[in-house]
């Protein structure tokens, strides 16, 4: 009988310890809270799956989840095509390449809360440059502190401004890796610009685009700081996305149990959608 040397497992231990302390232990604490009820004094009572049921049935959660999906959907709908278009129109070589790249990367280098404050000041109806311009020069009734639609548009535009660059840079990396011979062959084959995009550029961008969409999905689905600083979830609850609502429950109302249950549901949804998307996108390659 063959004996196997099992000592190699010791090499895995450090990683296991690290992962345990930065992910598993905090996560288990949340799991622990999600099935118990407390009235303080560090006394806990078994609650079972009650909190989960309560959260899933609550109108407040469902509304926030709906807003969250709408937000992420709009973000992907705008940023992905826009990112591809910008990447396609960027120069491939010459003096302007580094200029474009740096300009593109700039918004991403600004911290989230700064982006929120910037856009807040920028869009305030009376004192903000954009707010003043829209209201007093163009005569458009715009007030993101009062009107839900204005608030939504502002939050979306802010995110597009902040994160389209990520899609652009990833797509650009995919585009510049296409050898010239492909374009030359397409020219000789008499391919139209659309065919070049459809059969050369898009397939070559597919891998990076998958990553870009995945990252944009996760980031926009978990977005917190920017809309919180910009609108604080208002006016009313109109821009209260899942993360903002979660913080309200957990730290505002200090309802530990429901908040823990909600974050687990939140986490499960993010994981599930990411997994589904990734599996679907890479299915063809495996065949």
């Amino acid at each position: 009988m063959r004996t196997e040397n099992q000592k190699a497992w010791f090499f895995v231990l450090p990683v296991l310890a690290l992962v345990a302390f930065n992910a598993l232990v905090p996560m288990m604490t949340v799991v622990n809270y999600s099935v118990q009820e407390t009235f303080g004094n560090n006394q806990f009572f078994w609650e079972g799956l009650g909190w989960f049921e309560q959260i899933l049935r609550s109108d407040r959660f469902q509304a926030a989840l709906g807003r969250q999906f709408l937000f992420t959907f709009l973000i992907l709908l705008i940023e992905v095509p826009l990112g591809i278009i910008v990447a396609l129109s960027m120069p491939r070589k010459g003096f302007w390449v580094p200029v474009c790249l740096v300009l593109m990367a700039l918004p991403m280098l600004i911290p989230w809360n700064v982006v929120g404050s910037m856009w807040n000041i920028f869009t305030l109806p009376k004192i903000g440059l954009l707010g003043y311009f829209l209201n007093d020069v163009l005569g458009i009734n715009y007030d993101m502190t009062q009107q839900p639609l204005s608030a939504w548009i502002t939050v979306i535009v802010m995110d597009v401004w902040h994160w389209t660059s990520l899609v652009v840079l990833l797509c650009y990396a995919g585009l510049v890796s296409i050898p010239d011979a492909y374009y030359q062959a397409a020219k000789i084959d008499g391919a139209s610009p659309w065919s070049v995009f459809r059969y050369i550029q898009l397939p070559k961008m597919k891998t990076v685009l998958t990553i870009a969409i995945l990252l944009r999905f996760m980031d926009s689905f978990n977005i917190y700081t920017e809309p919180f600083v910009l609108t604080g979830g208002g006016p009313g609850n109109s821009t209260t996305l899942l993360s903002i609502d979660l913080v309200k429950i957990a730290l505002g109302q200090f309802d530990l149990g429901p908040a823990a249950a909600m974050s687990l549901i939140y986490f499960a949804i993010t994981l599930l959608v990411s997994w589904l998307f990734y599996t679907l996108m890479t299915k063809d390659d495996a065949e």
């Binding site: 011979a181 062959a185 020219k187 000789i188 008499g190 065919s195 059969y199």
Partner: protein, 358 residues
């Protein structure tokens, strides 16, 4: 199908070229017969790919004209020249099947479905890829991918010329000869003018009826493989073609004799011209051993299978001799005999002897 004529072609990649050194192509004047198989042979950077891209229309030459059957196509884009090009790395459309790849050029030109189907089947059969027509092209091996990119060129029945830009670079050695003979066979069946760019002399000499040898943006010689081997017009051709290449030995020219390291060598005929640097050019195959002749010292003998390559020194000049039998020992003293009808003088690189009338 067409005759291709390049007239006074010059090309520079710089916006305002000054001297001849700024030109990637210097003055090319060539006419290629309709249906011929030609090779452009030269080392990397000699301008052969530039020339190819000018013919296919991917580049517009700085000066000169390109004529297809006397029609000036210099300003026409690639898709209106009806040419096909096969690139160094196989270009295939990953998301399409093999069949869709082959049909793509026809679809873009608005050919009706019936004709497309017929042509694709014809070409697939020619290339032995009929059984792959419905598989996705991305999973194919490099040689099959290269076949498909060839097929996309051949599928159009109006192609004036098919260009190959070092098409066998990424193919496994044992598949190279297979694909090469396939190419030769295709040329006979399709009867299109084919232009093959390569730096590999074996590929050029086996594929082409006529080889154009280029160096530094200039054509140094155009000829059949036999002509290039038997009577190189330039020391570069002599050295580049053949293995080992022609011996180029510094000498003095005196009428129909050359004086090399103090020994007189009879030439194929009288020399012409004056001044410049003179060299004696003779292929290793035409140097023999004898009882008398030029004394030489053997330094190395290499057995390369079919024959031996003997390295020898005469005075201070090294040269090579190819022999099949009677191999001398390294370190021994021998006498070399140069075949007069294969001994020529080159002045500044260019041939400077006249062949004696037979």
């Amino acid at each position: 199908m067409a005759q291709i004529k390049l007239s006074n072609l010059r090309h520079s990649y710089m916006p305002s070229p000054k001297g001849p050194e700024d030109y990637a192509l210097k003055e090319i004047d060539v006419t290629w017969r309709d249906g011929g198989a030609y090779a452009l042979l030269g080392p990397s950077g000699c301008g052969k790919s530039t020339l190819l891209n000018i013919i296919s229309g991917l580049l517009t030459p700085s000066e000169g004209r390109i004529l297809f059957d006397d029609q000036d196509v210099t300003a026409l884009p690639p898709d209106q020249r009806n040419i096909a090009q096969v690139f160094q790395f196989p270009v295939i459309y990953d998301t399409m099947t093999v069949g869709e790849n082959l049909a793509f050029p026809l679809k873009n030109r608005g050919v009706d479905a019936e004709t497309i189907k017929r042509r694709v089947l014809e070409i697939a059969e020619m290339l032995d890829v009929t059984d792959m027509l419905n598989t996705r092209a991305s999973g194919l091996s490099p040689d099959n991918k290269q076949k498909i990119s060839m097929g996309r060129g051949l599928v159009r029945d109006d192609v004036n010329a098919v260009m190959f830009d070092e098409p066998l670079t990424v193919i496994d050695p044992h598949l190279k000869w297979k694909l090469r003979s396939k190419l030769k066979e295709l040329h006979q069946r399709v009867q299109a003018t084919m232009i093959y760019v390569t730096h590999d002399q074996t590929e050029a000499l086996t594929f082409a009826d006529e080889v154009v040898v280029m160096q530094d943006g200039e054509v140094v010689q155009i000829g059949t493989p036999v002509e290039l081997f038997e009577r190189p017009q330039h020391t570069f051709v002599g050295h580049f073609i053949g293995s080992p290449g022609m011996n180029v030995l510094p000498c003095e020219a005196k009428g129909d004799r050359a004086v090399f390291e103090g020994h007189e060598v009879k030439l194929e005929g009288p020399t012409h011209g004056n001044g410049g640097r003179t060299d004696l050019g003779i292929r290793p195959e035409y140097v023999g051993f004898g009882d008398t002749g030029i004394p030489a010292h053997v330094t190395k003998v290499a057995d390369i299978g079919r024959h031996y390559v003997v390295s020898a020194v005469v005075g201070n000049t090294a040269l090579k001799v190819v022999t099949e039998h009677g191999v001398p020992e390294p370190g021994s003293q021998v006498f070399l005999q140069f075949k007069p009808e294969q001994s020529r003088v080159y002045r500044d690189g260019w041939i400077a002897t006249q062949e004696r009338a037979q």
